[in-house]
């Protein structure tokens, strides 16, 4: 314990951390990756649940290989069975149980693997770009509604711009 525990230094440290942690996505790629990771996270959760619930998965049991390879299959099926009979409350508990620590995740993080051999098919590249672009446009809209400032790296293309110059508010039709 040092003597530097003044509120000011705590605050300084904390905001420094916050700024790093709470950066907002700056472009469509970052936004896409963020939401993609958020949704994909369910597989990390389910692994977390499986390995916490069935400790046999953490050791190498002394059965022959074909039995060893059937253990994860059997336990996944058992997991599904339990899931079927879960109450919402139990499910929430289960979900929390699946939260993995940073070390677990780093252990299986493949994002830095060299992937020169992974070829991407062009249709899917286009699909991903299209999804990311739609997301980005939508995100800018929501940010603007909330009155939040944003910085853009991507030029926003205004979709069928609804220009109602000046004349809004007094619609005297009929």
């Amino acid at each position: 314990m040092g003597s530097g525990g003044s509120p000011v230094s705590c605050l300084g440290l904390f905001t420094g951390y916050d700024m790093k942690q709470y950066d907002r996505p700056r472009n469509k790629e970052e936004l896409f990756n963020l939401r993609h990771a958020c949704l994909r996270n369910v597989i990390e959760r389910i692994f977390g649940v499986l390995k916490r619930r069935f400790r046999i998965l953490l050791v190498a049991p002394a059965f022959n290989l074909s039995v060893q390879s059937r253990i994860p299959v059997a336990l996944s099926a058992l997991h599904n069975f339990i899931r079927e009979h879960d109450t919402e409350e139990e499910y929430a508990k289960l979900y929390a149980m699946g939260k993995r620590n940073a070390a677990d995740i780093a252990e299986e993080d493949d994002s830095n693997l060299p992937n020169a051999n992974l070829d991407e098919d062009q249709t899917s590249v286009a699909l991903r770009d299209q999804i990311a672009q739609q997301m980005w446009v939508d995100y800018q809209k929501v940010l603007a509604e909330r009155g939040m400032v944003y910085e853009t790296e991507v030029e926003l293309e205004v979709e069928d711009g609804e220009h109602e110059d000046g004349g809004d508010g007094d619609g005297g039709e009929d």
Binding site: M19, K20, Q21, Y22, D23, R24, P25, R26, E29, E30, F32, N33, L34, R35, H36, A37, L39, R40, V42, I43, E44, R45, I46, F47, V49, L57, L65, S66, Q68, S69, R70, I71, P72, V73, S76, A77, R83, Y91, L94, Y95, E108, D109, D110, L113, L118, D119, E120, D121, T123, S124, V125, L127, R128, I131, D138, Y139, V142, R146, M148, Y150
Partner: protein, 134 residues
Amino acid sequence: MQQPTANDPCAYKIQSDTRFYPFFKDAIGAIDGSHIHTAPPAEFRDSYRNRKGAVTQNCLFTCSFDMHFNYVLTGWEGSASDARVYEDARANGLEIPPGKYLLADAGYALGDGLLTPYRGHRYHLREWGRVGLR
């Protein structure tokens, strides 16, 4: 264990969240490999060693957004890459209806039913974080 079909409705987790819907409306689940410790006969041990040095089998799982497993393929040596195991899974019963996809990490190739993140971009982001304070 059931796999999703082309006619399944969009998952509640996606449909109920404007961050995900309609963008990921065709996502039917998530996929990843998990290394599970294994004890092969000594003569095979080296091929079961993964890139972290542990002796494992590389198991591939897919799951739905409500935490059910939909597909499992086990038995691959730990030295096999996720992409290689995926290839085998596609040849052995892993079905992804046309126009649908699974969410995968950057260890997989984009395409053939998989939607992967952009490589080389930052993470540790929040949608409503402060910005411009770097």
